[in-house]
Symmetry: C2
Amino acid sequence: MTEILSAATRGPLLDPLFSAGWKEVDGRDAIEKTFVFDSFVDAFGWMTRAAIWAEKWDHHPEWSNTYNKVKVVLTTHDVGGLSALDAKLARKMESLL
Amino acid sequence: MTEILSAATRGPLLDPLFSAGWKEVDGRDAIEKTFVFDSFVDAFGWMTRAAIWAEKWDHHPEWSNTYNKVKVVLTTHDVGGLSALDAKLARKMESLL
């Protein structure tokens, strides 16, 4: 059962992501990061790997791509804010770099 | 040599795209369309096919994806507006549906 992150779980799950360059989105219970790659092929290749995990976990990002940049926003629409799934997908995205 | 679309070429190249649901972007010499698919797999699969053509032609979209929706903006940064490449990529995106 997906639940919104409790006060107690936010720090342990989110602090490592903030250290990795993620930040809170203004006005939404969501996190975002802009990834910069060497080329479009690198950027879209990374998106493709992340897309497969997103589909496997049935948890999809909001993301935009312009050439070598990919901006990702993660939140859990079902619970109206951040859940452990967002932290899990963010960690996976980092590991796929 | 890529050139900005002349007044004479705009109609023939852009009108068929406007008929297919593309529209001008407010305040920019660019065109946009939001594509809606049945699923994330369909949306991202289409993006992947379009991405290969974009790279092949060295002409890349600005695009964003949220689950089954893909919003595409096309313009030619090198010329500061729309060129024949944008119409070509838009037509390819339509043919890949």
